[in-house]
Symmetry: C2
Subunit: 348 residues, 2 copies
DNA sequence: TTGAAAGCGCTAACAA
DNA sequence: TTGTTAGCGCTTTCAA
């Protein structure tokens, strides 16, 4: 039978076994200070024999550093955040850091909770995709207490932190403009509203910017957005249902903009169940170039954003900030790109 | 300007401010022992004023518990693991645990590394999807030192731990049998081999079982698997290329089995670029019911496995094991299901 | 090169 | 009810 709880050897044990003082053992193990080669060797041998594994908790206790970052995102199961987190992990790992991930489900109360836990764990820095642009006292307070924070994907301008994002407004504006140039006048976009798991409606810069991009592209082109062209929804099935209704209208749209992965999925569901063909009956385009966008028929034209790189860059920014805490906060805007495929038909 | 490093108030600070001893302050803050209501209140007030946040590192130091689990999986950006991790997080969070996630990229050396880090952090338990079935000394050694481990998705039978998996062999055998019953005799399956980022070829029970299921279903039906019907590949593009070659053969398969998300993607890429129609020219079926399988034309018939639940169950198992360390190790086999859609055509 | 001792922030046993 | 004390495992002066 196994021990109930892992009882690992400590430096004291190693020191005793090697017949030296704790300080010497610690030096040999930690490879600092000066230790004679012979004692170093005997200490190391003793450590190996005992299966010694340094307790980084204790180390953190004295150094005040945990070499761990926290990450607060909506949902790792969302492919966008999954890739982002992968980039972040990879980026910090190079410097020997780890990450504790917590999902907020777009709920501010979860965010508050998770933030508390992470601060309790004394993470050296925090990556956060804030759940709501108008409830951020907890983040402000963390900042005031000296907590290092980087905002990613979305941001709250009031918070004086580094930010790593893409230009959602521009990307959206440009994409919609393209479709307008292809002759479309009736373009609908399921409403990009984020309602958290706690039921609150949250303003999130990302979706807000994409909406504004859409709206402005329309109005700059002198186009109206008919009532109901922005049906609300968040879950794939909600979106599908909302869009389904839209497609049964007499003045149904000729193009549909899916502002993220889930929206695109919902849109396609609706188009399929209305037995409409893309792009001959209706054009479709979206945000986020997930793997599957090339495998549907036809392949989808989308705005591609560098999810992995957003995470990677955030890691670099955080790591850099650790070294120069007083440099001015920066915004890092990563480029998006338009990937033209076959889901948009010109309108005569 | 902000403080360089977060300098949080400690119990001592709170105690001083409230004019009580550290122990009393700790009791008031931690809500244990007995403290008079009045002092409790004044301590709490002092804590709030100072922005006190308990240091869980220090707490772990003395209790020996971190209330943190580690997770060692191949890649969070893989939708399967992303969902699994989400389930795991949700499951442990209910009991106030957090998770530190590390990606191994199917590389044993990364796994060894990550394991060391996690043990150093003294996680209370470990979720691992082992990278290789034949190099697991590090895991065995962790176990010997009393580390709590649960294996998920795949497992090494030699390791005496709880296991949470699906029956990959059976699921695969049944699926292939169905396709055989539909009249297919030439069924190919890109080879399910896992080569880690370190270049080593790793045996992984999951893929191994799926392969055996396929092979046995074929041979039980008296069918041959022609040479080259299991082209190797791991990346989507590799798979696409390998399958492409297969499709150009005179005796090309009439059905293709994609053993996971990535395999399916590669297969569809190949079928598309050979301008073949599913299912009229070739039937396709796969493992893992990702979101996009319903959005391709035609929707894909697949084996669905409960990724989220695998994680959730693992959490429960780990939590339970913490309470009864000496109960015998158990295997938890979660059910898969066959989702019949439109990608398989009968053969006359 | 080595050792002794202090202390990180907390919990927990024991006294008062 | 409150305070004193020791100690978790480590790093880090300071002396020897």
């Amino acid at each position: 039978m196994r021990p109930v709880s892992p009882s690992r050897a400590s430096v004291s044990d190693v020191a005793r076994k090697a017949g030296v003082s704790r300080a010497t053992a610690a030096r040999a193990l930690g490879d600092y200070g000066s230790v004679s080669d012979s004692t170093k060797e005997s200490v190391r041998k003793a450590a190996a024999d005992l299966g010694y594994s340094p307790n980084s908790i204790a180390r953190s206790m004295v150094t005040g550093k945990t070499r761990t970052f926290g990450a607060l995102v909506a949902d790792v199961a969302n492919p966008f955040f999954a890739k982002l987190m992968r980039g972040f992990s990879d980026g910090v790992r190079k410097e020997g850091y780890n990450v504790i991930l917590m999902n907020t489900d777009e709920s501010v109360s979860s965010e508050v909770n998770a933030l508390g836990v992470l601060i309790g764990k004394r993470v050296d820095g925090l990556l956060v995709a804030p759940a709501s642009a108008d409830r951020y006292e907890h983040l402000q307070s963390a900042l005031d207490h000296g907590q290092l924070i980087v905002q990613v994907d979305r941001f709250i301008p009031e918070l004086e932190t580094d930010v790593v994002v893409v230009d959602n407004y521009e990307a959206s504006y440009l994409a919609v403009s393209r479709v307008i140039n292809a002759g479309h006048t009736r373009i609908a976009a399921p409403l990009l509203r984020s309602t958290g798991a706690d039921g609150h409606f949250n303003i999130v810069s990302t979706m807000d910017d994409r909406t504004r991009g859409y709206l402005n592209a329309m109005s700059d082109a002198g186009l109206e957005v008919p009532r109901g062209y922005q049906p609300p929804g968040r879950q794939r099935s909600e979106v599908a249902q909302a869009v389904g209704g839209l497609l049964r209208r007499a003045d149904r749209p000729t193009a549909l903009f899916g502002a993220d992965d889930t929206f695109m999925l919902g849109i396609i569901d609706a188009v399929r169940s209305e037995k409409l063909g893309i792009p001959e009956d209706i054009s479709v385009f979206g945000f986020d170039d997930t793997e599957w966008t090339t495998v549907v028929t036809p392949p989808l034209s989308v705005i591609s954003q560098p999810a992995y790189d957003l995470g990677l860059r955030s890691a670099q920014v955080l790591l850099q900030r650790l070294k120069s805490p007083y440099a001015e906060a920066q915004s890092h805007i990563l480029p998006t790109s338009w990937v033209e495929r076959d889901s948009i038909a010109p309108i005569a």
